[in-house]
């Protein structure tokens, strides 16, 4: 969807959307200068509205929260992939990795 539909769905002003993009809280899909927002961006927008609205987080707080959240998701993605990869190994290899990981905690 384009800017106008995005703003209408979330009931926000265009200037607020610009601010979000400027802060990189939202990174629209941009191709040949045309930017498109997806369902994931809508969900992200709702999260931002939750943070600044009912949860009372200020602009700097949202900045920190979104950065950490992106790190958490990236980390979860990598960890998930790693877990999958380990699960496909022999039982013996799995056990050795787990032993070592627990040992070095």
């Amino acid at each position: 969807m384009r800017d106008t539909e995005f703003c209408r769905t979330l009931e926000i002003e265009g200037t607020l959307l610009e601010l979000w993009v400027e802060h990189r809280w939202l990174v629209p899909d941009e191709q040949a200068g045309i930017r498109t927002f997806h369902e994931a961006d809508l969900a992200r927008g709702r999260l931002i509205l939750d943070l600044v609205g009912p949860m009372g987080v200020n602009e700097h707080g949202v900045d920190v929260a979104m950065q950490l959240l992106d790190q958490v998701h990236s980390l979860r993605g990598k960890l998930g992939a790693l877990m999958e990869a380990i699960r496909t190994q022999d039982q013996e290899v799995q056990r050795r990795i787990l032993d070592r990981a627990l040992d070095r905690r």
Binding site: E39, R46, L69, H73
Partner: protein
């Protein structure tokens, strides 16, 4: 859903709207599904408190609920998809991926280096990150503006224009001088935080500048025109006759340029300086000056 919204939020029936809001806020921060990516339970509990707050947070609806006109579910809202669902399924095409946070895991020849740096399709575009720097400037350079040649790492020297009235702690932005973008996307910006070195006599006070200006005894007694330095060059200032040390003159518009336009003022505090070496004629005069001896200079201090 048989629990009453009051129970869900953990407040009494006599709670004020403010109590209800703060109870919701507390629970929402703890239970928001996007802040608890892996916790399935959090979503159900968040939905429950949100539904409860949808009823109790609105005084109108709360009244209707209290009177039994609506049930605890209030109005039906379409099911909401939380961001974590998209982030988990990789639906964001890597736009929000935070590759930089893995730089300490597997770099160089480590077989995992590819694992931590490989991105989704390898074709996505992303604006480069902003690069952060800091620079020290003399007080007058910041006050009057200056063009400085700076060297960013791995780049040619570039001219940084510091606008007049730049303050300590202010950040200047060089568009497109940050880290390169991915796959043809624009680069990030360089952000340069300015540190202003204190000046030996100009002291900044908001938009104004304060400093002391020495005057001779004859200038103090007789008054007259003197040359006074300001941020952007000396100006003629008329001092009234019989000016004591500490007398402050305001030079309008001679302070720092304000961010929104216009200038602050300069406040010049006069300081009488006696002749060096001492002048025998002055000494002889003051010795015979009876009114001077009778002056009670410290009367206001009770002396």
């Amino acid at each position: 859903m048989s629990r009453s919204p009051y129970e869900v939020l953990g407040v009494g029936k006599d709670a004020t709207q403010k109590d209800i809001q703060s109870a919701y806020r507390k629970l929402a921060k703890k239970l928001h599904p996007d802040l608890n990516p892996g916790d399935k339970d959090a979503e159900d509990r968040f939905k429950a408190i949100s539904a409860a707050y949808a009823v109790l947070g609105d005084e109108d609806k709360r009244g209707k609920y209290d009177r039994g006109e609506i049930d605890e579910t209030g109005a039906e809202t379409p099911p909401r998809h939380f961001y974590r669902e998209y982030a988990a399924s990789g639906d964001t095409a890597g736009r929000y991926e935070s590759e930089h946070s893995f730089h300490d895991f597997g770099l160089g020849d480590d077989i995992f280096s590819g694992f931590f740096s490989r991105r989704g399709q390898g074709q996505r575009q992303a604006k480069g990150r902003d690069a952060y720097f800091s620079m020290e400037l003399d007080f007058l350079e910041a006050a009057n503006g200056v063009t400085k040649q700076i060297h960013l790492p791995d780049g040619p020297a570039i001219d940084l224009t510091v606008p007049p009235g730049t303050r300590d702690g202010q950040t200047l932005r060089l568009r497109g001088k940050g880290e390169p973008g991915l796959n043809g996307a624009p680069p990030g910006d360089a952000r340069i935080e300015i540190r202003v070195r204190p000046h030996p006599f100009y002291k900044q006070d908001g938009d104004d500048v304060r400093y002391e200006v020495p005057i001779s005894l004859s200038e103090a007694v007789l008054g007259g025109k003197i040359r006074v330095p300001t941020l952007d060059g000396a100006v003629n200032v008329t001092i009234p006759a019989n000016s004591s040390t500490g007398k402050t003159l305001r030079l309008k518009g001679k302070g720092l340029r304000k961010p929104g336009g216009g200038h602050g003022d300069a406040y010049v505090s006069l300081q009488i300086v006696l002749p060096e070496p001492p002048d025998p004629e002055l000494k002889a005069f003051v010795e015979g000056w009876t009114a001077g001896k009778a002056q009670a200079a410290r009367r206001h201090m009770g002396g």
